[in-house]
């Protein structure tokens, strides 16, 4: 995409890939907006089981917020060319991402123990919604983890030294995005979902 560069000589436009990311985030927002609106419509239909959020979701929320912080520090380290520090911060972020996914899963198991199945014929839509929405969100987080792993290995390459900050910034923006998305969902579930 050398051609992007040629086109950009005139004005300093946003890098096309960053731009694509922003639109993609808009699109992801629409998916979750669709699901949470469906949630509200369904709740107003009645036959709605109310239950408190699994307590472990509080821990996962803290985890993902911390991971945003480490991501932020990683970006700073990258800009300062402190590659060792950058790599370790990236690894911590990825680890926290995986931990988040595990904690969400633990939350599902907690619900199972309380006799609130997420799926299956005995499930109530309110629990199924929780399962699907958080599940989809976890998939987006794991997608971010894969992206982190990719930029981690890129930093290890010795043959081609790349100080291009665009990939790092893209992954960073995405990471903060899934973080904020979870906070929105968490507040949503606590306010709208459980009475």
């Amino acid at each position: 995409m050398d051609m992007a560069a040629t086109n950009d000589i005139e004005k300093k436009r946003m890098h096309p890939h960053k731009f694509v990311l922003w639109i993609a985030m808009g699109s992801i927002v629409m998916m979750f907006a669709g699901l949470t609106s469906a949630y509200i419509v369904k709740r107003n239909d009645g036959n709605w089981l109310e239950f408190p959020m699994p307590s472990v979701f509080w821990y996962s929320t803290v985890t993902i917020i911390i991971s945003s912080l480490t991501m932020y520090l990683a970006q700073k380290a990258f800009k300062a060319r402190e590659m060792a520090r950058y790599r370790s911060l990236i690894s911590v972020t990825a680890f926290l991402g995986v931990l988040f996914a595990v904690l969400q899963f633990v939350g599902f198991i907690q619900l199972g123990h309380q006799n609130i199945p997420l799926f299956g014929v005995k499930s109530n839509p309110s629990a199924s919604f929780l399962g699907i929405i958080t599940g989809l969100h976890v998939l987006h987080v794991l997608g971010g983890v894969i992206a982190l792993i990719v930029i981690f290995f890129r930093a290890h390459r010795t043959r081609v030294k790349s100080y291009n900050s665009v990939p790092v910034e893209i992954v960073g923006t995405y990471w903060h995005f899934v973080d904020i998305l979870w906070i929105y969902l968490f507040i949503f579930f606590n306010m709208v979902g459980t009475g």
């Binding site: 995409m1 051609m3 096309p16 694509v20 629409m30 799926f119 839509p125």
Partner: protein, 604 residues
């Protein structure tokens, strides 16, 4: 979409890789040039040809089910030869009929008029008309085609499974779509339908992201947004609609998948199915699906229509040798349509028990669409008015589009009144409305685009005489097929029935139905003529000898007759003016690349 991050990461690595090998050249072989091509022009042709294959299949399906509707008593032994058990004794079975109607709808709406239309022309025209060497991300662009291809394969395979393809209508309402036991097509056929549609959504998202990024980010020097040709504006709004509404459809599908496979009760409730008994599900609501579906479904009809509108604006102006009338109003009305498209979905649900108060709000919003639509029609007509018209086949199809859009838009205003809709809903009136305004009109936009940009695509012209025959038979046929359906609908004839001859009240339409079916066969045959013209001309058509055969102002005609990857051999040209300087200061046209002269009259 969860793999979006992955794709980004992947692509970024590709990017850096390129950076490392500066100055390296593409080594093109057959595979990278024709199959896994990243050249937007080749990807456009891939979308076009795949769309054509689907158009033939989907059109053939309509011929088959029209045979049933026109000749319900007759038996065609050859049908049994091609359809086997679906047409025992030469008679299309009810299951096969529903499967044909459903697949026809799905394929035409999504695979032909979405992927085939905006896929082809967004890919082809965006980089060429904004002055870019390729899309913002050629790799994502290629992936978008291959996801579409996979979706096509899966959809095609659904036609060969034991229980047949999905047969519950293109809108796939539950319970037929949610419950395997509800009908034969609800089993494997529906699974494959869902997989195909999910792949299709991914393809559309990848494509849309790319189109938007390219238009906003990669325009050449001097190409401000208000100098863009209206094609690009229309394709831009199309992409925005797609990127914002397909994810919602996707969420609807996810819930559907869980209802089908994991026993949840989003859409299913304790209804009674004759072969199964009462379902164990509790409290699900099929209406919820309808909301999610139509939140995409209505924007989708404009996703289909807007590219045609854009191309028609461009072709009308070029061939009237006049600037488009009301350029800014054209953009404004596109914008208004795009916004309103998200606010009217419930007009498909007036008779679902929707709260009448809510219904009246949706009536108001729906009828508001008539305003920007009327602005566009007015501007097209005034562009034509006293123009120096060149009746090329592309131009004829563009004019035909305007005619169809008027005819079909007017019936929309009927349907948009919730009181009238009680009578008209799910009748042939609706079929007539949307086939004229969306189906045929957008097809006409597509034909116009193909005839007009064919010289740029293949460096040759299509045959004009065949083009004229194609146009006149198709426009006459389209009206003869769909106009009478309004009367059938007003008389209350419901859509999606297998055999009307058993109803006393519809016996009056036996002859009319036979007439319609006969015209369908003729029109279908003429489309084959078009295809013959298309493929013959690729190799044998008259060669294009000048860079700018239509004497057009836009950038694509400043490229070589057969542009390579990268479009312009040298620098990308700079743009100095808007795209519609026709008949200005005594000049027939002034290309966008011509600097503004000192003595020029007012300048955009």
């Amino acid at each position: 979409m969860s793999n979006e991050a992955v794709l980004h990461a992947h692509e970024v690595s590709h990017d850096v890789h390129h950076g490392g090998h500066d100055g390296h050249h593409h080594h093109e072989n057959f595979i990278t040039k024709y199959v896994f091509s990243q050249d937007h022009k080749m990807i456009a042709k891939q979308f076009l040809i795949t769309g054509m294959v689907w158009a033939v299949l989907g059109g053939l399906m309509s011929v088959l089910f029209r045979l049933q509707l026109g000749y319900p008593e007759a038996s065609f032994p050859w049908l049994e030869d091609i359809l086997g058990k679906w047409a025992k004794g030469g008679h299309i079975s009810a299951e096969a009929y529903y499967a044909l109607v459903t697949t026809h709808g799905t394929v035409l709406v999504f695979f032909v008029l979405t992927a085939g239309l905006s896929g082809t022309f967004s890919n082809f025209l965006i980089p060429l008309q904004v002055g870019a060497r390729d899309m913002a991300s050629p790799l994502m662009n290629m992936l978008s085609y291959w996801f579409f291809f996979l979706a096509s394969i899966v959809m095609l395979s659904s036609m060969f499974v034991e229980t047949g393809p999905f047969s519950g209508g293109w809108t796939a309402y539950p319970p037929l779509s949610a419950l395997g036991d509800a009908s034969p097509g609800s089993k494997t056929g529906m699974d494959l339908w869902l997989i195909a549609m999910a792949l299709f959504v991914v393809s559309q998202l990848l494509a849309g992201l790319n189109y938007i990024a390219t238009i906003l980010n990669m325009r050449t020097k001097g190409m401000s947004m208000t100098r863009l040709p209206l094609t690009i504006w229309a394709l831009f709004f199309t992409a925005v609609l797609g990127v914002l509404s397909f994810p919602v459809l996707f969420s609807g599908f996810i819930l559907l998948i869980f209802d089908r496979n994991f026993g949840t009760s989003f859409y299913l409730s304790d209804i009674f199915i004759s072969s199964v008994g009462a379902l164990p599900n509790e409290g699900g609501s099929a209406i919820l699906y309808q909301h999610l579906f139509w939140f995409l479904g209505h924007p989708e009809v404009y996703i289909i229509l807007l590219p045609a509108m854009g191309m028609v604006s461009e072709i009308l102006s070029t061939n009237s040798r006049k600037p488009i009338f009301g350029y800014m109003a054209m953009i404004g009305s596109l914008f208004a349509i795009a916004i309103l498209a998200f606010l009217v979905w419930a007009h498909h649900m007036f008779v679902t028990g929707l709260n009448p108060f809510l219904g009246s709000i949706f009536v108001l919003l729906t009828l508001l669409i008539a305003v920007p639509s009327a602005i566009k029609v007015f501007n097209w007509l005034t562009t034509l008015w006293r123009g120096n018209i060149r009746f090329t086949p592309g131009m004829l199809f563009a004019i035909g589009f305007v005619s169809l859009f008027i005819s079909g838009g007017l019936t929309g205003i009927w349907l948009g009144n919730s009181a009238l809709d009680i009578h008209l809903h799910d009748t042939y009136f609706v079929i007539a409305h949307f086939h004229i305004v969306m189906g045929v009109a957008s097809m006409f936009g597509m034909f116009a685009g193909i005839y007009h940009w064919y010289p740029k695509m293949y460096g040759r012209f299509m045959n004009n005489t065949l083009g004229y025959i194609h146009f006149w038979v198709t426009i006459a046929g389209a009206y003869l097929i769909f106009w009478p359906m309004h009367y059938e609908g007003l008389a209350g004839m419901p859509r999606r029935y297998y055999d009307y001859s058993v109803w006393e009240s519809f016996k009056q339409f036996v002859e009319l139905n036979r007439f319609i079916s006969t015209v369908v066969i003729i029109v279908f045959a003429v489309q084959l003529l078009f295809l013959a013209n298309f493929f013959y001309s690729i190799w044998k058509g008259r060669k294009v000898t000048t860079q700018n055969p239509w004497e057009s102002t836009t950038l694509e005609w400043t490229t070589p007759i057969r542009p390579g990857h990268g479009n312009w051999p040298g620098e990308i040209p700079e743009v100095h003016r808007w795209a519609y300087d026709y008949g200005k200061d005594g000049k027939s046209f002034i290309p966008q690349t011509t600097p503004v002269g000192d003595d020029e009259s007012e300048h955009h």
